[in-house]
């Protein structure tokens, strides 16, 4: 009996050891590539090996903190870094798995430090102050892509030598994006709207929803300014339609989140027969088919993707405020400068802080202009453009003008 059990035990241990060996073997290939620049000038995978870098030059190693691993926008960003940036620059990009909390972010930064990274680009926002501090402790340059620290945090860390900077929509920009969308439909003559609050209390969605309400010309709980509306939405953990009043547009239906009740809530919104369905995020991912079938015009704040192109061309998507995938190019250039010893600093040695606005498409022509201009091998922020921001003579003003320039 015992012999039989022991046999099973050893068989299992052997099997486990074999599995471990297989993975060790697989990873060995990438280890060789990463460790020996002569084998792979650009880093650890086949795509990176095509980079036109001198064989004896070590690639810049950058860790990327990721919180969203499945959204269209997040996948677009990753695709740009992996398939364009890594091909065209002598850089090795390492990614985290999905980060859900501050402890995960800190561990990830420390892991990247242990792996010899020189900089961190963050798409994760559980605790950005802690991220800056952990990077500084580990002597890693730190940059925020597609987002921003709040004003108080920026003031605290703006002179930290390891904080490269931040480029992305500020919360005010999120509010303005929602405002423009609400105003668009109010100006268009919509009398009734349904609204999808996405993942409120996610701050980004809260600010956008507040903007939509203000853009409709309505008040929320009697308030009409950004701070007061936002504060109430945080308090309510959502938008309470009974608190929306004034203006010429009536909010006839509201729901948020995605779960078991979502289909029923969407059907209820459709049955209310609104003139338009306004979403502050993710509607194009979740509801495009149903809204097209119902024949209800809808809008979203998302990104310029093929799915959204189809929804605008053949469906009822009539307004899209979005980012394009290569909008994260400038912060990459700033990080390269910092690693190369040419940090871009503002007056008094402050870190970069440039807000990036959304582009708005209201018809197929404007959508195609942004979409087709930012494809695979020819992104809007291509190597030719980015190279103008990499060097020892780039000033803060140059960089700000570069980001704020109209690329449409």
């Amino acid at each position: 009996m015992m012999k039989k059990s022991m046999k099973k035990l050893f068989a299992l241990l052997l099997a486990s050891a074999l599995i471990l060996s297989v993975f060790a073997g697989c990873s060995g290939k990438s280890t060789e590539n990463s460790a020996d620049p002569a084998n792979s000038p650009a880093g650890g995978n086949e795509e990176q090996s095509q980079a036109p870098a001198p064989a004896n030059e070590k690639p810049i190693k950058i860790g990327v903190l990721v919180a969203d691993v499945s959204g269209e926008e997040a996948l677009g960003f990753r695709n740009y870094y992996e398939n364009y940036i890594a091909k065209n620059y002598n850089v090795e990009l390492l990614y985290t798995e999905q980060l859900t909390d501050a402890a995960g972010e800190r561990s990830a930064i420390e892991r990247f430090a242990a792996q010899g990274c020189q900089a961190i680009i963050s798409f994760s926002s559980s605790d950005r102050a802690m991220q800056v501090e952990t990077c500084a402790q580990n002597k890693l340059f730190y940059a925020v892509a597609s987002g921003m620290l709040d004003d108080e945090q920026y003031e605290t860390y703006k002179t930290n030598e390891w904080f490269v900077g931040q480029v992305g929509p500020s919360m005010e920009t999120e509010f303005e994006a929602g405002y423009a969308m609400g105003k668009y439909f109010a100006d268009k003559g919509a009398k009734t709207i349904a609204m999808y609050g996405a993942f409120i209390p996610n701050p980004m969605h809260v600010y956008r929803a507040a903007g939509v309400i203000a853009g409709m010309g309505a008040t929320y709980g009697g308030a009409s300014d950004m701070g007061a509306i936002v504060g109430q939405i945080f308090g309510d953990q959502g938008v309470d339609p009974s608190k929306v009043s004034g203006g010429s547009v009536e909010l006839v239906s509201y729901f948020q989140g995605y779960g078991e009740t979502t289909t029923d809530e969407l059907n209820a919104a459709i049955q209310a027969q609104p003139d338009a369905f306004l979403s502050v995020g993710m509607a194009t991912t979740f509801f495009t088919q149903q809204l097209n079938t119902a024949g209800i015009e809808f809008s979203d704040i998302d990104s310029f993707t093929s799915g959204n192109q189809a929804a605008m061309t053949d469906g009822k998507l009539v307004y899209l405020a979005g980012k394009y995938s290569s909008s994260i190019g400038p912060i990459f250039a700033a990080v390269v400068d910092a690693v190369n010893g040419n940090p871009i600093r503002g007056e008094g040695g402050t870190a970069i802080s440039v807000s990036q606005s959304y582009l708005v498409a209201t018809d197929t022509a404007s959508f195609d202009k942004y979409y087709s201009a930012d494809q695979g091998d020819s992104p809007i922020y291509n190597k030719e453009l980015l190279d103008t921001m990499i060097g020892d003579s780039v000033t803060y003003a140059d960089f700000q003008a570069f980001v704020e320039a109209d690329r449409s």
Partner: protein, 331 residues
């Protein structure tokens, strides 16, 4: 005849020794595997060991308290939510009073209170404890989320000043907390009647109650110890990162189950329960996770390390269950 019996006894003892040593051997192997993986890649071992320690210490502390509940043959799925809730109230308390001792007190009292509430609800309504913990998980997560989002605003989280607990963010302080709690747990579990009776209740509750052992009393003790572990875990979490978001400690609840199994203790509890399972299992699980993250290229795809980790989990459950599929009563 006697010689044969002696040989059988020796063989049984050897087998038991091997089974008891297996988790420790696995821990040593996993540590060696991590060191090999890190050095072969040219990474910095000191930082990796620090990461493993910081991740494992919270899991080990919370899991050590949870062993008391698992021993009874029950389990508490709300421990992660309870950690989040305790840390949330702790942060709110500090921000309102600027008092560190009061913050610590609130964290511990909240954690123990939440744990006790679960067991009391189960006693009052005569429903299995794990059912009440499922409800508690939802309630605590929702309340914590409400507090965090309402007070965190655009930051999406609440925090205490980052330099407040930084002096405590040292391995030595964490070792002291872990060692003290493990020592207390071992004392209660192995040197008082509490542990023995809890094992009896977990192994055969009907028989145990017929001998006069009060199930409710030992359930409450178990939940108090689990609550203490949760409170210390929440405090250690705040030492590591001074902020709390809705995702804080979200994975602890499930990781505890894995850690306890990795440590060689049956999920069904009973006489084979051991305090050190949580300690050994907690560190083993984190070592395995980190080794897999190194060996499996992070750029190959999301979730691969979790899948491999799950395969290992099933293998470990199978190996450890060999010991329980015996017709003999445990001795």
């Amino acid at each position: 005849m006697k010689a044969a019996e002696k040989s059988l006894q020796q063989s049984y003892r050897l087998r038991q020794l091997l089974i008891h040593l297996m988790p420790l051997a696995a821990l040593a192997i996993l540590l060696a595997a991590l060191c090999w993986a890190v050095t072969s890649k040219g990474y910095r071992l000191d930082i990796y060991l620090n990461i493993v320690f910081n991740e494992a210490v919270v899991l080990a502390v919370v899991a050590t308290g949870a062993v008391f509940i698992y021993t009874l043959g029950s389990f508490d799925i709300s421990l992660g939510a309870s950690t989040l809730f305790s840390a949330t109230l702790g942060v709110m308390t500090y921000n309102a009073t600027q008092s560190l001792p009061l913050m610590l007190l609130v964290i511990l009292v909240t954690a123990i209170g939440c744990s006790l509430l679960s067991s009391l609800l189960a006693s009052v309504f005569h429903i299995p404890v794990f059912v009440t913990t499922v409800a508690m998980m939802s309630v605590l997560s929702a309340i914590a989320a409400q507090i965090i989002t309402k007070n965190g605003g655009a930051l999406g989280g609440i925090s205490i000043p980052s330099d407040l607990l930084r002096p405590l963010d040292t391995p030595w302080f964490k070792v002291v907390i872990l060692a003290a709690f493990v020592a207390l747990s071992i004392f209660i579990f192995s040197f008082t009647k509490v542990g023995r009776r809890q094992k009896f209740l977990g192994g055969n509750p009907v028989c145990a109650q017929l001998t006069g052992i009060d199930l409710n009393r030992y359930t409450i003790i178990a939940f108090v110890m689990a609550g203490l572990g949760v409170g210390l875990g929440a405090f250690l979490t705040l030492i590591y990162t001074p902020s709390v978001t809705t995702g804080t400690a979200s994975s602890i609840g499930m990781n505890i189950i894995v850690a306890i199994v990795f440590g060689g203790m049956p999920i069904s509890g009973g006489p084979n329960s051991k305090i050190y399972s949580a300690l050994v299992g907690g560190f083993s699980y984190i070592l395995l996770n980190n080794t897999l993250k190194i060996l499996i290229d992070g750029n190959t795809g999301y979730g691969v390390s979790q899948i491999v980790s799950a395969i290992f989990f099933l293998a470990v459950v199978y190996v450890t269950s060999i010991n329980y599929r015996t017709k003999l009563l445990p001795r």
